[in-house]
Each structure stands twice: as structure tokens, then as C-alpha cells.
Amino acid sequence: MANLFSALNMSSSALKVHQAGINIVSNNISNMNTEGYHKQKLNLGTLTLDLPIGNNVYNQVKTSAGVEAISVTRYTTNFIGSYYRDQLTDQAYLDQQKQAISDLAEMFDELGGNGLDSALEGFYEALDNLNQYPSDMSARINFLEAAGTLTNSMNHISKKLENMKNLGVGDGSSPELLQQSELNTSINSLNDYLQQLANLNKQLSNSNTGTLENNNLLDRRDVLLNEIAKLADFKTTIHDDGSVTLTLGGTKIVSGNKVLATFDLQTAAKYDEYCQQNGIENKNECNAVVRLIKENGSVIENVNNRFDAGKIGGIIDAATPGDGVNVYSVIENLDTLAQTIADVFNELQTREGAFYLESVDGKVQLSNTDLEQYVIFTTNDGSAEVTAGNICINSLLTEGDGYNKIAAAYFEDYDPTAPDPLANIDLNAVGNANNIIAMIDTKTNATSPAFDGIGNIPLSDYYSGIISKVNAALTSSTNAADAQDAVVQSLDNKTAEQTSVDLNEELTDLVKFQTAYSASARVFTTCNTLLDTLVNLGL
């Protein structure tokens, strides 16, 4: 009799277990498109009763008590999660770098016509025209316009580059710009993720392993860890209960259910203030400084160097001067170019023996009175140092008949120390364009000390050099990022192969569980009938 009831019990447990199996299938199918979802599987086991068996076959049958659901396992990859996250960190860093260089390259896409090179060539072309017609008003005005185009396009590019830098990390002094910066957005999402992770840690430590709930939490944890890995290179320690401890550069950031330290941004100026107050040598070169504020209120200032990878590392590196090509180095190069242009042409314009035109009684003749104040290039902010951002044309040359002040003529034997320096100078020689020829000569001849700043190469070669560097950096960063993309892609594929849900598999399982369920139900009915028979027997 006991056996009949146990069969009844067995079939009822089987019904329960296969019902659960169908639930798992349903969960798998529902989540087949959920990011980070790992396929789950119901593990079944035979239920046995611990009875003295002996050699009695009946007793042996008695011990088998049907099926039980042991656990729900989660399909996992056979490679280590931390390896995948390292790859994600590298990918995010390289992508960020590629993006930054692409933005730069776009600005220097001379095939698309960025204008600086054509402005420089146009400037020389105007000089050539001026050489042909040194005393012509139109040639002189044309030259000043070409020079204006050159300074404008330098100003324009410089402004775009500054904006680009500001977009990354702000300008170093304005808290508003820092607030709007890409770095701020990333730091904010990082803090957000860290808080989410602490919450997950808490939930994980409260749930039992091998349950549906626990598996779902693990899925969410892995997605979160991937997102965090894309931002920065944390050291991740995963505990037995699935909770995670995050460390960055030796400081515990998240442990258990607590965020131990949050990231905070301040401007370079603010940091400099702090350094001066505390007598610390300020070695920071980035416009934004990341600091860590601990739970207990203590602060670790300047942790920029702990971000050497991930997206945040990419942003900081792109805005920190270094050996590589970035906005900063390009701005510096352009500033040097601007300074050199100003030096080279101002020096020729105002050198001893150079003469400009002067209108005397309606007739033009040469003069060199106050020549030194008629420099061609000057700065629009009064600073002595010329940069791509502040270079402009001397207003003395653009106002009224200032165009006459361009010193086209040059006399080699002019001697300012002679008793009458002008005695040997033919002031009617308005066709003398020797100074313009000297200016044109700088197109290829860069031996003058004014060219020292750019390594004594012609201006256009220097500019080509900037573009070449940017393009080379573009090539290498694109290659590196593409290669890393491929690595991550292949790991993604591997993960998908090992953990993703396959519809056919699930449908098969569904049919399997359904059949077993129907069969168990039939067993149940059969046992019931048998019992019925037995009961009627006694009547």
C-alpha cells in the first residue's frame, strides 16, 4: 500500500518540478534579448529516502522517491570575467582616444578645406603680387587682406581647439565649463554606478546562491561591472556570495553595501589654490582635477594619475600635455607657428634698410620714419606673446592709408649710423621690392633665427608636419581601437555562444517538460484509479 501512495507522491513532485522547468524555460525565453542575461537551467536530481535497504527488491523500490529540483544554474563563460573587463577598459580608452584624434583630424582635413594652409599660401601669393606691383594700392590692400585671412583662420582654428579642450575637461578656471564637460558626465555616471553596485552587493549577500533571484542579481552585477570597467581601471575582487569589492589605486572605493569614497571634480585653479595653501608642489597639467572624498570626510586630492585607462583615462590623457598628439600639443604647435609668422615678417618689415611708402604732395616716395611701430602682426589682447588665438594685423596698417606702411623696399647699404643715412637712398625708388622678395624667400629659406622656434623649417612644412602628426596619430589610434574592438567583439561572441538563450533549445526543453508533465499527470491518474480499485475491493 505504501508503494502506491509513494508513486502518487512521486508523480505529484514530478508535476511540481516540471512546472518549475517550464517556468525556467519561460524565463529564458522572456529574457533572451535582455542585456547580460545568462541562460539558466533547472538542475534535477532523484529524490531518495534514507531507508535500510538490504536485499529486498521491494525495499529498494521504496527508497526512490521521485524527482526534485536541486538548483538553478546560470550558464557562465569559461574565461575569467576580469579579463573581459580589462579588455573593455582598454577598448573604452582607445575609443576615447580615437574619437579625440578624429575630432582633431577633422579640423585639419585640408582635403575638405580647413583653410589654414590655403590662407598661408594665399598670403605668399599676395606677397608675390605685391612684389610685382610694390607701389600699387590694390596690391598692398590685397596683401593686408591675405594677411587678415591668415590671422582669422588661425584665430578660428585656435578657438575651435580651445572649445574642444573645454568640452573635454573645461578651461581650468570656470566651474560652469567643468560642469558641462565630458569628464564631469563620466565622473557622475561612475559615482552612480558605484552606488548601484553597493546596493547590488547588499542584495547579493542577502540572497542564496543557485536561486533564480541570485542569478538575476549576478546578471545585473556583471552588466554593471562592465559599465564601470569602461570608465576606469578598477581592481575587482569578487567574493563567494557574489558581492564585489572595488579598488582604485590602492583605495577601496566600494566594499560590501557601502560606497567608501566618491569621485569629485575641481578646476585646476582650485587645485592650485589648495597646493599653495598646503605648500605642495603642483605638478598637475590638466585643466580638471579628480579627487576622492571618503565616507569619513577625508579627501585624497588629485587622483588623475590613477585613471590611466578607460574612458575617463582617455579624456584626461587627451587634455594633458605629453609626448603624444592631442589637442594640447596641437594648440601648442599652432601657437608656435603663429609666433614664428609674427617674428619672421615683423622682423623683415621693421629691419634697418627697409622702407615704406609715404605720400608727399600727392606723389609717393620712400620713408622709414618710425618704421619700428609698423609691425605687420600683433596681438589683439595686448600680450607680448603671440598665439594662434590672439594674432592679428596691426591696425596702423589697416586704417586709412596704412597700407602704404608695408615696407616693400630694402637697401642693403643703408647705414643708420652715417651722418646722413638717407644720402645714398633714392627715395623715388618706389619700385624697389627687395624686402618683399626677402619675405617671399622665407617660403623656402628658413635659416633666419626667427625660425628657430619651429626648428628652422619653412612655415608650410611645419604646418604639414602638424597635419602629418595628427594623421599618423589618427592612423595608429584607429588601428589600435579597431584591433581592440575586434578583441572585445570576439569575447562578446564567445560569451554569446556560451551563455545566450537559444530558442530551439528552449522549445525543445518546453516540449520535454510538457511531455514529462503530461506523463506524470497520467501516472497520478493511474495511481488514483488503482487506489479506487483497491477501495472498491474492500466493499
Binding site: 585639419f108 582635403l111 608675390d128 610685382q132 642693403e412 619700385g431 623656402t444 538563450v501
Partner: protein, 367 residues
């Protein structure tokens, strides 16, 4: 090794293939529409730099070519002007030869003098030719006419119409007279020659007393002149004019001899007239030298033009090479591109078709 094939992996890879094929297809379409392989630096950063540098060089070559054009024009203009002045000088020399053969009379000499004055004026006009707004023979003194005719004065210091000199006011030969244009990197070619070099200078001034207005007179009561400089064809023309004018004066003196002048004095005057003809004769050599100088200047110019033509040809070659080079990097091989385009289109279509058939299959269809 593939562990499992799941719906997700299949979908992912199918999407990947379709995207790759679509990217290839649209890239080829863009290339076909522009006819260029490299449309921005992102297509090929390194080659883009080469294109950029070559384009810059082409622009420069265009400027040099234009400069060579300007140089050629101005040199031709200069050369033609020198030829014209040479013609005038030849006419003056012919006049001198005719005058010197001794058959001249006072009236023929006077006609010669009138024509000579016209020649001088026309020579000065030619030497003051301007081209592109510049006086071509003035060196760098481009805005003032390089030659001016100097006129004599009478005993009271008032100007007369007698031509006494042709003064050059342009840049001197030893000054910085060159006007140059660039015809290659750092190579500058001179486009002009000074009047002083080609035609010389004949600067003659009346001599005044200390007050600056009263002329210093000679024994015969005529104003005196000081020759500051006299050379080239300009000097020769003035010398010829002076010699003819002197001869006419002697004839006048002969006509005006009072009755009963001793034969000895008449003979002496006739002798002087004969000396005058000798002087005119003697000028012919100088004329020839001055005219040779013009021819010489012109010939050196001719050589310049040949040189320029050669430079221009080599610039044109360079430009063609650069264009070929750029075209080689940048331009699309249409045949290849179109066949690539078709095959990429096929691949794109095939990948979509294959994907749709595999994605629509599921066990669900058979349950």
C-alpha cells in the same frame, strides 16, 4: 571552437555581416559618385598628406607659371622698345653719315637738325615707355619717367627750345635697380634693364653764377654748359646734335662774313667747317658702339626669354607629374570600381536574403 550556436549568436553575426556589406557597398557608392578613392583624410590619412602637399606644390607652380608669363611679357615689351630705339638711332646714324659726306649745305643740315630733334624726342618717349603702370627703364624708380630732355638757356637765363641733354633719373646701374619675380622656390628672375645700361645718360646743365639764376657767359656772350655725364646712345645723339648745330653756326658765320674779309680768314673758316664734318664723321664710331650696346642688351634679354620658356616647360612637366601622382593616389579606377560595386551590391543582397531565410526559421514553425 564554437561551443553552442544560439539564436543570439546567429542574429549578432548576421547583423554584423549585413552591416559590413552595407558599409562596403555605401563606401564604393560614395567613391563612384565622387570619382575619388580618397575623399577625406579619414579614407587614408597618410596618402591624404601626400595629396595635400602635392596640391600645394601645384598651386605654387601656377603662381610661378603666371610670373614667367609676366616676366616674358615685360621682357618682350622691353626688348621691342629697345628695337624701336635702335631703329631711331640707326636713322640718326644715317643722317650723320649723309651729313658727313661733305655735300651738305646749311639748309640740308637745318633739315637734319629738325629731324634729329624729332628723333631725340621720340627716343625719349620710347625710353619713358611704361608697362603695367611702371616705367620699364627706370630701374626701381618705377613711378617717375626715367628720361627728361634738358633745354638750353639764353644769355638772360631764360629757357630756350634748344635741346642740350637727355638726363637719366632712374636707378643707377650700381644701385638696386632689379625688379624680380619668383619662378621657382627661392629663384628670382630679373625682368628689367635700366635705361642707364641700355641707352646711357647725357646730363648737361647750364652753369649759373652764385645767385643761381644769372648764367655764366663765355667770351662770345653765349651761356655755358656743364656736362655731368655723357654716354650711351643718349650721349651720342646729343653729341651729333651739337656737332650739326655747330656746323650750321659756322655756315651762318660764313654767310655773315662782312665784305672784304681777308682770304686767310675765309680759308680759316672753311677749314673750321671741314673740321666740323670731321667731327660728325668721328661720331659714327661712337654711334656704332652705343648701338652695339643696345643689341647686346637685347640679346641677353633674348637668352632670358629662352631660359624662361624652358623653365615654364619644366614647370608644366612638373605640374603634369604631380597631377598624375595625385590622380594615381586619389582617382578611382572606374572599371575596377564598378565591378567591385556590383559585387558588393550582390554580396549585400545575398547577405540580406540569407539572413532573412535563416532568421525566419525556428522550431516554432513545426510545432
Amino acid at each position: 571552437m564554437i561551443d553552442r550556436v544560439t539564436s543570439t549568436t546567429v542574429n549578432n553575426s548576421l547583423v554584423g555581416y549585413i552591416q559590413q556589406n552595407y558599409a562596403d557597398y555605401s563606401k564604393l557608392t560614395e567613391q563612384l559618385s565622387t570619382g575619388k578613392k580618397i575623399n577625406s583624410i579619414f579614407d587614408d590619412p597618410i596618402q591624404a598628406i601626400n595629396i595635400f602637399n602635392s596640391n600645394r606644390l601645384i598651386n605654387r607652380i601656377d603662381i610661378w607659371s603666371a610670373n614667367i608669363g609676366s616676366l616674358t611679357n615685360e621682357i618682350t615689351q622691353t626688348s621691342e622698345t629697345i628695337d624701336l630705339i635702335h631703329e631711331r638711332a640707326q636713322r640718326a646714324k644715317d643722317l650723320a653719315t649723309t651729313a658727313a659726306n661733305g655735300t651738305s649745305t646749311k639748309s640740308t643740315l637745318q633739315a637734319t637738325l629738325t629731324e634729329l630733334d624729332q628723333i631725340i624726342e621720340s627716343v625719349v618717349d620710347l625710353a619713358n615707355t611704361s608697362y603695367n603702370g611702371n616705367y620699364i627703364f627706370g630701374g626701381t624708380n618705377t613711378k617717375t619717367p626715367p628720361y627728361e630732355i634738358q633745354y638750353g638757356i639764353d644769355a638772360d637765363g631764360n629757357p630756350t627750345e634748344e635741346i642740350i641733354g637727355i638726363k637719366y633719373t632712374g636707378t643707377p646701374i650700381d644701385g638696386e635697380w632689379q625688379r624680380q619675380l619668383e619662378i621657382a622656390d627661392g629663384v628670382f628672375e630679373t625682368m628689367n634693364v635700366t635705361g642707364a645700361e641700355a641707352f646711357g645718360n647725357c646730363d648737361v646743365e647750364p652753369v649759373f653764377q652764385a645767385d643761381g639764376t644769372t648764367p655764366v657767359l663765355d667770351a662770345e656772350g653765349n651761356p655755358t654748359y656743364q656736362v655731368n655725364e655723357s654716354n650711351g646712345i643718349m650721349g651720342e645723339l646729343i653729341n651729333l646734335r651739337n656737332a650739326i648745330s655747330d656746323t650750321i653756326e659756322k655756315y651762318e658765320e660764313q654767310e655773315n662774313l662782312p665784305e672784304g674779309t681777308p682770304q686767310a680768314d675765309k680759308d680759316a673758316l672753311a677749314n673750321e667747317i671741314s673740321t666740323c664734318y670731321d667731327t660728325i664723321n668721328g661720331l659714327l664710331d661712337g654711334f656704332a658702339t652705343a648701338m652695339d650696346k643696345m643689341v647686346q642688351v637685347n640679346e641677353s634679354f633674348g637668352a632670358d626669354i629662352n631660359k624662361l620658356e624652358m623653365s615654364d616647360e619644366s614647370l608644366a612637366d612638373n605640374k603634369l607629374n604631380l597631377k598624375d601622382y595625385i590622380s594615381g593616389i586619389q582617382d578611382l579606377d572606374l572599371t575596377e570600381a564598378i565591378s567591385d560595386w556590383y559585387s558588393s551590391q550582390m554580396a549585400y543582397q545575398a547577405s540580406m536574403q540569407a539572413s532573412s531565410s535563416i532568421m525566419s526559421m525556428s522550431l516554432l514553425n513545426y510545432m
